[in-house]
């Protein structure tokens, strides 16, 4: 049983946490691609920016002496999401809308999004330096340890409070997004526009409103993903810039333009990364007792060495692009 608990700790929990973050980021990217038809690289900066907004709010809460039962990062999350959505709208208004009005090609918008990435990252580094911050400087990070001796495990099942909340919050927001996209008028309009923008416009859908809603959702979910990542590890200016490609991988694996695909892709990439670097000897060790001497398992038996963890996502990305560029859920293909 010890091995099973170890597997749960190392693969299931960390894979799920990573997958949730990737999925939330990928939803924004996939929605923007579906509606506006360009790969939005600055999404990483929406995530990092959102995380820094949440961090500032949490610090303000701590300074005012407000003590909350759950980590402050989660309490301030709704406010931070609203602010991040406003930020996303502002970026669109300031940088992308003028280019769209001029009828620029998607390629130009992609390059513009890289410019936005550089500017926001420069600003964040200007104000916060290159160091790292933690949400848990004034409050403890609670760790739950479930003692599983009763079922014969010598190791406890370990999960931190932010991780539990993170999985719950992701689940709730994905459910909310699902109902928004399938039940509300606006959500249906969004899906219609993602399918065929011209047809949606002639059938009387307010495309400008749909574009605004897309940015609001993308900004809010990006902020959520960034804050959660910062809560799980530490907050630094290149927090999301380093994982933007795995997020793109998630969006592409799920099929660009498909919101559900992004969720599936995010979880898939998250689990693939943790499974690929997982040391199988830890689980298969009992086999050593029955295997002959010359077949004993080596001390590490992982598919790839740990330093290549992020590379797994890139390999999946490239392979998906080559074998099935439309992704699992048959997304848009340009």
């Amino acid at each position: 049983m010890t091995e099973l608990v170890f597997f749960t700790n190392q693969v299931i929990i960390s894979g799920l946490v990573l997958g949730c973050i990737y999925a939330l980021g990928a939803i924004g990217i996939t929605l923007i691609f579906g509606i506006l038809r360009f790969a939005h690289f600055a999404h990483s900066e929406l995530m990092t920016g959102g995380a820094f907004i949440a961090f500032l709010l949490a610090s303000a809460f701590a300074a005012w002496g407000i003590v909350t039962p759950i980590p402050t990062g989660f309490v301030v999350l709704p406010i931070a999401m609203v602010l991040a959505a406003i930020l996303a709208l502002g970026i669109d208004k300031g940088f992308y809308a003028p280019l769209r009005k001029r009828g620029a090609k998607p390629v130009t918008l992609l390059i513009a999004s890289i410019g936005v990435t550089l500017m926001i990252q420069g600003l964040i580094r200007l104000f916060f330096g290159a160091g790292s911050y933690s949400f848990f400087e004034t409050e403890p990070k609670e760790v739950f340890r479930f003692d599983l001796a009763s079922i014969g495990s010598t190791r406890p099942l370990v999960i931190t409070e932010p991780q539990v909340l993170m999985i719950l919050v992701t689940f709730v927001s994905v459910l909310a997004l699902h109902f928004f996209l399938t039940r509300s008028r606006l959500g249906k309009a969004m899906r219609a526009m993602a399918d065929n923008a011209d047809l949606a416009q002639v059938s009387g859908i307010n495309t400008a409103l749909v574009v605004r809603v897309t940015w609001i959702i993308a900004g809010a979910l990006g902020c959520m993903a960034g804050t959660m990542l910062a809560l799980d590890v530490t907050l630094k200016p290149d927090l999301a810039f380093n994982i933007i490609l795995p997020i793109f991988a998630a969006a592409i694996v799920g099929g660009l333009g498909q919101a559900y695909g992004a969720i599936a892709g995010g979880l898939l990439i998250g689990f693939a990364e943790t499974l690929a670097v997982f040391n199988w000897t830890m689980v298969l060790r009992p086999l050593n007792a029955i295997l002959p001497d010359w077949m004993q398992l080596p001390p590490t038996l992982a598919l790839v060495p740990t330093e290549y963890k992020l590379t797994v996502a890139f390999v999946i990305l490239v392979v998906t692009l080559l074998v099935r560029p439309t992704g699992i859920f048959k997304g848009a293909s340009s």
Binding site: L99, V107, E307
Partner: protein, 429 residues
């Protein structure tokens, strides 16, 4: 048009003179050498994007390949490695790689013996897995042995001339570009951009972690120069700063000669039928196909040509700074910067790309001291008003480069989307 280019280049010249006056000659001379190398890289991207319309966002990967190549060719030989069992073990790993490749190839041809559909897919995946395990079983002990003291730490270099290393950088980049192009060029715009970024990240991870081959994060230095080093001039009786300048002028001269040859070659290619065909493919590949042009092969060709220049440029940069440090490569400094150079300069125009490369490199290097000066000024001013000084000016001004780069590209896209020296579209009536 010509007048505009002359004015812009004249302005650039004045900027360089000003920089030499304010920042000092040693600083300016080394920035100019780097600018020449970046100009070569920007010309490479200009071929790919400006001539061919290919969206290569994996420049960093090709620069790293060029750097690793020049390290391998020009660094002195490592006798410990060659005396040990390292070469034999590497040979075995190579053999395992070849066997693995054969297995994969055989699985892909399995439809010849009647295995088709899902079974073939399963067989191919299994073959990849077996090949990978086979290779890992040989390379892991070899890498561990070479990285130990007995194996010499890493394989070392070959002790060749650095210019040979530059050429090898080009050849190696061409080889990798061929593979990358072969598998990726079927993708269009956004997808190609993401795929090439992914591949460049894979290349970075490999070069960074294959310590036996590249020494990884331990870095390799000092890498020899193709021209005499300052120390050589000093030995012949010059004083320190003159020797430095003389050595750098020598390097700059070599870099400018390479740049001039490349510029001449690609300008001729641009004006010739080949360049016309490339522009036809870029502007409308469907029409070009219907005129009987082999679009896929042509795009692969141009992707390889551009990557050769990137490889050579990357090699020049590494041998100039004399250190190969894989962890110093960042997408911002080595991919996005080049893109901004080409877009601001003018995609499709070689003089534009050249201008953009030099201008952006100068902006990139002077934005740090400039913003430090601005911060210092504001800081003294705010101290006088009693608001206190700006904290950590040094660290903050170092980060301003990224912001300035973003600002430049945003302004350029908004007000000069075709670049400062745009492509000349000839219309024949």
């Amino acid at each position: 048009m010509i007048q505009r280019s002359l004015t812009l280049f004249g302005g650039l010249f004045v900027l360089i003179l000003l920089m030499g006056w304010v920042m000092g000659l040693p600083f300016t001379s080394s920035r100019l050498v780097e600018a020449a190398a970046y100009a070569l890289i920007a010309l490479g991207l200009n071929i790919q994007w400006g001539y061919g319309g290919l969206f290569n966002f994996g420049i960093m990967g090709f620069l790293m390949v060029g750097g690793a190549a020049v390290t391998f060719i020009s660094f002195p030989v490592n006798p410990v490695f060659w005396a040990g069992e390292g070469p034999a073990m590497l040979g075995k790993a190579l053999l395992a790689f070849a066997v693995g490749a054969l297995i994969v190839l055989a699985a892909r041809k399995s439809d010849r013996i009647g295995i088709t559909g899902k079974w073939k897919t399963a067989l191919t995946v299994l073959a990849w897995f077996i090949g990978y395990c086979l290779y890992r079983s040989q390379i892991d002990p070899a890498a561990a042995y070479i990285e130990s003291a007995a194996g010499g730490g890493w394989i070392g270099g070959l002790g060749g001339h650095p210019v040979l290393g530059w050429l090898f950088g080009g050849v190696l980049a061409a080889g990798i570009a061929y593979i990358v192009g072969k598998i990726c060029l079927g993708l269009r715009t956004d997808y190609l951009a993401i795929a090439t970024i992914g591949i460049s990240e894979i290349i970075r991870a490999l070069i960074k972690n294959m310590d036996w081959l590249t020494r990884g994060t331990l870095t390799v230095s000092p890498i020899p120069w193709p021209t005499p080093l300052p120390q050589a001039f000093q030995a012949s009786g010059m004083d320190g700063s003159t020797a430095l300048l003389a050595a750098r002028s020598g390097y700059l001269l070599l870099a400018v000669i390479v740049l001039a040859i490349v510029m001449w070659l690609i300008s001729r290619a641009y004006a010739g039928p080949w360049g016309r065909m490339m522009r036809a493919i870029r502007d409308n590949h469907i029409a070009a196909t219907s005129m009987g042009k082999n679009v896929t092969a042509r795009q692969l060709e141009i992707f390889v040509f551009g990557s050769v220049l990137m490889g050579i440029g990357g090699a020049m940069l590494v041998s100039f700074v004399q250190i190969f440090d894989p962890s110093s490569y960042q997408p911002i400094n080595h991919t996005f910067l080049i893109w901004v150079m080409v877009i601001v300069g003018g995609a499709g125009n070689n003089w534009g790309a050249l201008f953009g490369a030099i201008l952006l490199w100068l902006i990139w290097v002077i934005s740090e001291p400039l913003s430090k000066a601005v911060f210092d000024f504001v800081s003294t001013w705010s101290t006088q008003f009693g608001w206190g000084a700006i904290p950590e000016i040094e660290a903050r001004s170092a980060q301003m480069r990224v912001f300035v780069l973003g600002l430049v590209i945003t302004i350029a896209l908004r007000f000069a989307p075709r670049g400062l020296i745009p492509e000349v579209v000839k219309r024949e009536r």
